[in-house]
Amino acid sequence: MKTARFRILWNRFIGDKLVVLGAVLVFLFLVIAVFGPQLAPYDFAQQFRAAAGELLPMDVMSTTATGERLLLGSDALGRDMLSRLIYGTRTTLVISVSSVLTATILAIVLGSLTGYFQGSLFDEIVMRLIDALLTFPGILLAVILVAAWGTQGIQIGPITTNPEMTIVFALVFTFTPRLTRTMRGSTIPQAHRAYIKAAQLMGMPVWRIVALELIPNCLTAVIIQATTYLGLAVFSTAGLGFLGLGPAEPQPELGKILARTQEYFLSRQFWHIFIPGFTISLLVFAFSVLGDGIRNVLDPEYRFEEADL
């Protein structure tokens, strides 16, 4: 019975060619992220001198003074573009995926609790806070938070987090509110169902009701939304990097690489401007198409909503 259901879902998923393309792309990007150090031809911080002996932005397929071939050229500091792109993809992916993952877990906990205790003081406070956070459109909140915390890492008691964590925290703040709302929305109708009442009547403790009875029945919507947020997370991570609020030098990040290309605008190396931006677009494209596909599979009746933006 379960396998038949799975087969229907699988056929629905595989039926859309665009979605399959998205899945393949996401897989490739994951391979790049995981095997980045093995795939990259050079270290991302290693500086090469151009044939003339100077530190220059080198064009695609150029040869360095020491004879290395740089497939995609170098940036203004002579660092191999291909290696930086591979490592940059890795950074961007790690930040986006971990922030969406953290936000989703947080949202599941907060959303199920507020939904279960709907109308309580706890619910009222959390939801008001979420309303306030929601008035700031997406990445803007992240910019403000990164600015407030600084890019040196956050001090929590004796521990200072690494700088990338600041960005993850900021993004978690931007994603959690909407995801929490979604989770709360799917929890409320479930919380009023008879099996929850039955559990209460048996004297089941609240943590057990929420964790084992309620949450497993409320996950579909929040998982769908989290998948579509992956694309948005890449967008935001790259956006922060682009604004100079990304990871510190020499750590490469896709948005940061793109921002640097403006420095050698006048050398008219079109490819340099094209490639990092295209990589970001491809990544967002892959995630959003895959997210679309997963949503179509799990919820064919779905309509476009504000929460997706």
Binding site: M1, A198, M204
Partner: protein, 332 residues
């Protein structure tokens, strides 16, 4: 001897006031779901509770099961208040839900669903627990292999049996059965009713059997209460109520069954919908639909009648019976 479970003039209002109204100290209209019900149930007794949808019978059931707290009045189990009861005694009062599919978590199989209450009752160790689960399935007449099944694999009757097994696992003394047969076929209904009656007799469990299905109630109940818009209007032993109904509403309800039989004499017909419990009619709540209103006159509109005894075990709430114990002759 005092009754096993006692409800003393319990009221349950549902607030209809929004937070904004509350902020501005305004008051919305409350829904008077249950409005002053007194009801005693003895050990081993099966009491039927009938009435139209929305009359408050489910709320009364939930009050007696302690699932909601009364706005006023008290529910007592073995003489002590249900609200201030320790968890162990609290479990002796259970509820069987109207829709079994709803009341069973779709993610768990039958074994898991029964496992929790079984463990809670002190059974430990895999073998002991499995044995108890199997004996529970035996009691409700389900094959033992059903322990591995999920709710979506079971029929309505089987689901209700699983729900009953889960309830019995807690070894209750009183079970509120909230329309347990409304979601199943006719033949299954009879099986479930028999099962409930048998279990009640064997284990001495009291039941409050809520239903709008009069034939089901007649089959199972020792005593019947009729509810209308949050109030009990008539209460009598089952046979007596069916043979000699005294309240116009009860007559009308019984006539509704008799409709199928063209030979039956009509005493009263029920027309229209019950009024909204947000704004119940003044005086006797039944008067706008009552066939005998003319006979009594304006009294019905002005004042609400009280529930008064006609005989030792028959009580009724109507102005047709002005003095204690005296029956007024009705025109046919």
């Amino acid at each position: 001897m005092s009754a096993l479970i006692e409800a003393e003039s319990v009221k349950r209002y549902y607030s209809n006031t929004s937070w904004l109204q509350r902020l501005l100290l305004l008051k919305g209209n409350d829904i008077q779901a249950v409005d002053g019900v007194t009801l005693n149930i003895d050990a081993g007794e099966i009491v039927g509770l009938v009435g139209e949808s929305g009359c408050g019978k489910t709320t009364l059931g939930w009050l007696l099961a302690g699932l909601v707290q009364p706005t006023a009045g008290a529910v007592r189990f073995r003489g002590s208040s249900l609200a201030s009861m320790d968890a162990a005694t609290r479990k002796k009062v259970q509820l069987l839900f109207q829709y079994p599919r709803e009341s069973l978590n779709p993610r768990h199989n039958v074994g898991t669903i029964l496992g929790y209450p079984v463990r809670k009752m002190g059974y430990a160790g895999e073998a002991q627990i499995t044995a108890r689960i199997h004996s529970l399935l035996d009691v409700v007449g389900l094959p033992r292999r059903y322990a591995d099944r999920y709710s979506f694999q079971l029929s309505g009757g089987e689901l209700q049996r699983v729900a009953l097994a889960r309830t019995l696992a807690l070894e209750p003394e009183f079970i509120v059965c909230d329309e347990p047969t409304s979601a199943v076929d006719m033949n299954v209904k009879v099986q479930i009713l028999k099962l409930l009656a048998d279990i009640s007799r064997e284990k001495g469990i009291s039941l409050l059997f809520i239903s709008h299905d009069l034939s089901a109630v007649r089959f199972i109940a020792d005593r019947i209460c009729v509810m209308y818009l949050g109030k009990v209007v008539e209460e009598a032993p089952a046979a007596q109520l069916f043979e000699r109904p005294q309240h116009p509403y009860t007559m009308a309800l019984l006539d509704a069954i008799a409709d199928i039989d063209p030979q039956a004499t009509r005493r009263a017909t029920l027309e229209g919908q019950p009024p909204s419990p947000v704004a119940p009619p003044s005086g006797c709540r039944f008067h706008p639909r009552c066939a005998y209103q003319e006979q009594v006159g304006s009294l019905c509109k002005e004042r609400g009648p009280v529930l008064q005894p006609l005989s030792a075990d028959h009580r009724v709430r109507c102005f047709l019976y002005p003095e204690n114990g005296q029956t007024v002759e009705l025109d046919p």
